[in-house]
């Protein structure tokens, strides 16, 4: 994969992320905030963006969505758990629900 391909992929991912996020927020803001793990301010921001704004924002070569596991405990639990898989997932869900949201500083 060349660097150019990679940039194109990133722009694609950005666009689908923003469009999906906006759809989720417009359909049901409360659940979308939980699923996306963002603050209400950011949700308002994404909700109010026009298509042109989304295209502009997604057109950059930087990834817009960030990795949500800044905690090695959750990550380890999801990937190498030696117990029941459904148990591991519920454990991870409990930890994820307790995480702070992404906020505008």
């Amino acid at each position: 994969m060349t660097a150019n391909d990679m940039m194109a992929e990133i722009r694609d991912a950005n666009l689908s992320y923003l469009m999906l996020a906006q759809q989720m927020i417009r359909a049901d803001k409360v659940t979308a905030i939980f699923r996306l793990g963002i603050s209400a301010d950011i949700a308002d921001l994404i909700e109010s963006m026009s298509n042109a704004q989304i295209l502009k924002l997604a057109g950059g070569n930087m990834m817009l969505a960030r990795f949500r596991f800044d905690d090695s405990a959750i990550l380890g639990m999801l990937t190498n758990y030696n117990k029941d898989r459904s148990l591991a997932q519920s454990h991870a869900a409990i930890l994820m629900a307790g995480q702070p949201v992404e906020e505008i500083a």
Binding site: V30, A93, I94
Partner: protein
């Protein structure tokens, strides 16, 4: 008494329908929806085809502290807490949304009831509001779990980091295993 608004009544009926479909019992409906008991009864019969179950609601906090229910209720409370603090949800709507998200995370096996029913989830939130139960971080994984507010919870370790030896070894699980073998 204020004049009855048709629009707000329609909204109340809509709310009642959603609650009944999620499995609410009549006591929950009576305290959260401002419709008369007769109308709620009619609505319940129309939606479910049967009369609502009679009798008191479970009122003990102990159920939430046993192993499997504790995991389910901890997940629900964490979601509910998240929705209230970050998404600005309130009251019965927060409970409803949190319950729907809980069902997505822990879908019940086909043909089976979810471990935590909506009425139990609602009772759980009331126990939290009256400080009978609280959340305590587990010393190992830092996840927050439901504990009795009156217990001594120093050095608490959750039921998932420290599984009790007989946890999950139910008759049902054994039968499923023997069928798979």
């Amino acid at each position: 008494m204020s004049k009855k608004s048709v629009v707000s009544e329609a909204q109340e009926i809509q709310l009642a329908i959603e609650l009944i479909n999620l499995g609410a019992r009549l006591q929950l409906l009576e305290s959260e929806v401002s419709l008369s008991r007769e109308r709620l009864l009619k609505l319940y019969k129309e939606l479910k085809g049967v009369s609502p179950p009679k009798g008191m609601l479970p009122f003990s906090t102990d159920w939430f502290l046993t192993w499997q229910p504790n995991i389910h209720s901890s997940l629900f409370v964490n979601i509910h807490h998240f929705l209230v603090t970050h998404a600005g949800a309130t009251g019965i709507h927060a409970v409803m949304k949190a319950y729907q998200l809980y069902l997505e995370q822990m879908p019940p096996a086909p043909g089976e009831e979810p471990v935590l029913s909506l009425t139990r989830a609602w009772t759980l939130v009331r126990f939290f509001n009256s400080d009978m139960l609280k959340l305590e971080p587990c010393g190992k994984c830092q996840g927050k779990f439901v504990v009795d507010a009156m217990d001594l919870n120093g050095g608490y370790v959750c039921g998932l980091c420290h599984m009790p030896s007989r946890a999950g070894k139910t008759k049902k699980a054994r039968e499923a295993e023997s069928q798979a073998a």
